[in-house]
């Protein structure tokens, strides 16, 4: 396991706990909503994770890409599917998203070579 990936996962969980502990009821409700929205429904969780990944990439948020890549990996998304989704993010979002493609590729290669 890549240490920095593990460290990011831990910081994420620790801070989420702290936010839920400190935050008001509206923050708690938003967090609950944020986990429910990716569940299987009329669209599969796999498709939803790809939607989350592309949204995160065009909005250029590495921490969000990080989370959705973990989920994409758990959903059994293939290399080809992943890079087709990223190619859409790249065309929609332009070259400004390329640093995030680098980040995503680095993490994906780590995940898939474990």
């Amino acid at each position: 396991m890549d240490d920095s990936i593990e460290a990011k996962r831990e910081f994420r969980l620790k801070m989420n706990d702290l936010i839920l502990n400190k935050g008001d009821i509206n923050i708690k409700r938003f967090f609950a909503l944020d986990s429910r929205v990716y569940k299987d429904g009329h669209l599969s969780q796999k498709t939803k994770e790809l939607l989350g990944l592309v949204a995160s990439t065009v909005l250029r948020c590495n921490d969000c890409i990080f989370y959705h890549l973990d989920q994409c990996y758990k959903q059994g998304i293939t290399d080809d599917e992943l890079f087709e989704a990223l190619s859409i993010a790249l065309i929609v979002g332009g070259s400004i998203t390329i640093p995030h493609l680098r980040f995503a590729t680095n993490q994906w290669v780590t995940l898939t070579s474990e």
Copy 2:
């Protein structure tokens, strides 16, 4: 057919022609790339249009939503599938995307009630 939808489609096509006529080779190549990226591949065109729609919604571009809704409709996407995709855009992008959900809903209702 709703006139304003038809008018938007016409303006879009007319201006695209003008850009391709005036623009340099790099603009032409980008436009070619932009239409190729949504073709069937390892991911279906249907999934890719949903990716394009969600990307357009979180980036808050009505003209882009307009185009992808047209394509989603042609791909036979259902009401339930569409609104699940939009719910992900809403949670990722926040209340600032709500005006674009209104725009999308208005157009979708027109398209599906023709």
Copy 3:
């Protein structure tokens, strides 16, 4: 009453109804959350509406500015308070926000001269 302001309010309400009717449970919950978050609490509703207004201005969403200006007006915010809040949005967000200051000023003058 300015007709276009009234028309915008009506479109907003009509589309919100349609979204709540068509949308899934997650969209409904988000909408509920979106109205609760501006209620009086440890910060006053007046302060919260200014927070919503400045957030909407730096994110450059006229429909959101429109809504929060209506609420600011109801909360009795003065011209001086409003323009101080907008001056922060302008300095944070830069000249790209100026068209939204024009939009906001036009609506505010209409609201306050009724």
Copy 4:
């Protein structure tokens, strides 16, 4: 002269006056700064207007594109120069900027065919 272009110019000036009249000293100073920054210096005004245009395009602000296109036209920028600048905005900003290329092309054709 295209009426809608003229109408936009008038709304812009009228609202700027109102903002300067209503706004606080910080808004006034920002507006002064905003006009000074495009003046001839170590970079020519022509280059600076192209910088303003590309910044406005990748930030996707039609009102700002509108203003800088007017200035580009006054600076004698050619079709080829303009579309090369826009091609950079397109590659950097992605397909999400295409509606703004349509807007810019439409206005530019009007300006250059007067």
Copy 5:
């Protein structure tokens, strides 16, 4: 004192000095404006810092959040007030702002437990 917070404060000041030394008159004027706009006026400095914090959060800039949190702390803002302001940023800006809530929470806990 948390070292990394102190290190960030130092880098910020050192680079500001360098920018003011290297930059042209327009940059200097902007920096002056940027510090004046948060001063007490018709709105209190406390309210203005919350406006700056929420603007920084929805625009997803950790360095800006960092600065405004320092100021919020100096203004005596409470935990409850802070998280209510952040909950508005979260609802307006969506889940894409969550990594910035984690950043803010981590810094706030450090500041308030010193």
Copy 6:
């Protein structure tokens, strides 16, 4: 040579190779387009690099600023020209771009003092 600058250059090249190796044909074409668009044409490469730098600054992408600063340096851009370009980015993009001015200034000073 500053180590961290060299390390960034290496990571950039290594990840680009990996993306081109893993990515589909559309990603490859985009990358080709992205390098062609800054070549000398009706606008000089120098002007184009400034356009790329300002676009990267208002879109607030340090990795993109990093690349364009390297190119600006190779094009012989002077301190005065660079900071005039950055002053436009600052006025257009607002105080939210200041952390990126700090990043750019730090790198520029390193490059020009080698």
